[in-house]
Symmetry: C2
Subunit: 403 residues, 2 copies
């Protein structure tokens, strides 16, 4: 095997694929990256797999002699990232029985040798049978993920709640939902609303022509729950795609999902339990409304959180006469914090308390200048939405105030 | 007590003084910062102390009513750093028996209350008896610290080796030395050599007129060993002074040292054991010399270190015919790394091995474009010096190569 490529191509592709390398590989070969060099297509393909998530990427290189090997991911990464931007030659003279595989990396006056493992030992990435195919708009999909990913559960025991539920019931609507049972985030993307992209917060740096592409797409009816861990990697993969491609392809069957970009592929187990019927949780009527500046609310939460002890709870007091929302935290033995911000308030005054982390997570994702809070009583779910732009609905359960 | 000051003044001074707050305060009051507001001088003075190191800083503020209190350092810092840049009012209504001390911080629509402790409980900072006073040039002193601090021992059991030995035997020479018994760094600063400042590596960003000030200073004969921990804080304090002041004052007696800047004071225990007679360790004759590019040597060490296992050892092979220095690391079962760089080599070829960390630490501090390596045999001390500029001598003991 002999490959000649640039340090930057090797570094970037290796860094991306390595994100699927498990920290405790079992079997050991999963701690390695599989390299496949094709002499005919002049493509170097790299693959990593942790048993659930697989990443494959390929790029053009000068390949005088094809071949396959697996190399220890961490060490290979460390070496390549410390070499300067220059041409790197990677060679491997396989012995007949593949018993003593050594790859040699040469670049100018540097020479590094790295013990590898036989490519035959590396498992095949899962494939998808009885294919369902959906072409998805990259920009809209990324927007949906941004509004949801943070709300998925990180407790592995919670099964489907560790995923994002992505569905389409109409050909032009894409819906994302995530919940960890304390809060729920739902984002709806309307692909036919090219006006929608005009309302959007331009400062968020989204590609402005999203509406144009999206409006040409007709989606089949589908619903899948995708592990959040895989979607975080997909987010990176799609982030690199924007500019080249407008869409990417999702293929799935009952157990696996594959995402295909222009030169990168991501494969993941599908979460197969029934996703909770979250639409039923969203209240339809409210007796109180608050509208205030989103960043002001965020910075106020961050200030009062200084005094919040382990339970991390802040009290919201609505004063409709003064037009003031007051956040307060009272920490016995330590002190107290109080911050007021101006707000448009409709409905009777009330005190209601929240977990600060749930609020800050959601307020960061909501974006936009102003946020609207819709509520009923102190012990009933509260909805936060951006006043304009993205159709995002963020539900948070309040907590009981210590009396 | 009532103080009105800017958020930035309070934040900066509090952050600096807090560096002396111990992570496990004993007694508890040492987890607090002492605030002393003087109605007459309009100065707010803050003090922190960990039993060995004390920091005191003061700044101008509007003080309608003087007073004293101690406030929990971490919480006070967290609060002040989260407030926006604005005017902050700090008040404290002491009760007669000082039993229930609460400070109130108000800024615009924020109000924070913080439980404090009685200022009377805060220990006095140590003072210096039978005074010895030395006025030291800030820029030269900082240069000496940069060339030495990294080489001091971090093992508390090594007593004097956890400090830097600073001395002057002639009125115009300042000498800094640090060793952890594996390596030794000695820096000599000649205050009368205004030419010296011309030789210096200008790219290092040092104040260029250091020579001018230094040449006016005559030092008394002295020798003190100062804890490296205190000097790291002094480095920050002096870094903030440059621009305002050219010199700072050191006062000391048998057990304490006090450093005085324009508005900040640092006090530390003095290390009193006998410092090793390090000049005797420096070889005076050599049979081999190597001169090479310093940054190239550093990046080569960083590359081959990828393969270095726990012992972190690299082999240097001198080839005087090729004019090449080759660095190599051989890691059984994993692989190997080799990198050659061009070098001027005098003397017979040899293989010699070093702990990579000791070399990289020293090479970073040496600065300048080229580095000179002077050596005898594979088991005798090696000296690294910059080819021009700073008079720094860095001694490293080689290690035995595994055969």
């Amino acid at each position: 095997m002999k490959i000649v490529c640039s340090q930057s191509d090797l570094k970037n592709n290796l860094a991306f694929v390595s994100r699927a390398v498990p920290s405790r590989p079992e079997p050991l070969v999963l701690g390695n990256v599989l390299l496949e060099a094709d002499e005919t297509t002049k493509k170097l393909t790299m693959t990593a797999f942790d048993g659930r998530l697989g990443i494959r990427t390929s790029f053009q290189a000068d390949i005088p002699e094809g071949g396959m090997i697996t190399l220890p991911a961490k060490l290979f990464n460390d070496i390549v990232s410390r070499l300067p931007e220059m041409e790197i030659t990677l060679t491997c003279d396989a012995e007949e029985d593949n018993s003593n595989l050594v790859a040699t990396l040469s670049a100018a006056s540097s020479k590094l040798q790295l013990n590898g493992m036989d490519a035959e030992e590396f498992p095949e990435l899962p494939v998808v049978s009885q294919e369902n195919t959906v072409d998805l708009p990259i920009t809209s999909f990324l927007e949906g993920l941004k509004g949801c990913l943070f709300a998925a559960s990180t407790e592995l025991s919670k099964e489907v709640l560790t995923g994002i539920h992505v569905s389409s019931t109409e050909a032009t609507t894409l819906e994302f939902a995530a919940t960890d049972s304390h809060r729920l985030s739902v984002v709806q993307i309307f692909l036919d609303e090219s006006e929608a992209s005009e309302d959007k917060d331009r400062s968020s740096g989204e590609t402005p022509d999203a509406g144009d592409v999206s409006s040409q797409i007709k989606l089949p009816e589908f619903a899948v729950t995708i592990p959040a861990r895989a979607l975080r990697e997909l987010e990176k993969m799609l982030g690199d795609e924007t500019g080249n491609q407008k869409t990417f392809r999702m293929r799935y069957d009952d157990t696996q999902i594959i995402f295909e970009g222009s030169s990168r592929t991501l494969t993941t187990l599908r979460l197969t339990g029934a996703y909770p019927p979250y639409q039923r949780l969203l209240p339809s009527t409210f007796v109180r409304y608050v509208v205030c500046d989103r960043k002001r609310l965020l910075s106020s939460l961050e200030l009062v959180s200084v005094m919040a002890q382990k339970n991390n709870i802040a009290k919201f007091s609505l004063d409709s006469v003064q037009g003031e929302l007051t956040l307060s935290v009272d920490a016995q033995d330590v002190g107290s914090a109080k911050q007021s911000i101006s707000a448009e308030i409709t409905g009777e005054d009330i005190d209601i308390a929240f977990n600060i982390k749930y609020l800050t997570d959601g307020l960061k994702a909501i974006r936009g200048t102003e946020v609207k809070m819709q509520l009923n009583e102190w012990n009933q779910p509260v909805i936060f939405t951006p006043l304009t732009g993205l159709k995002m609905t963020y539900l948070v359960m309040p907590v009981q105030i210590r009396s």
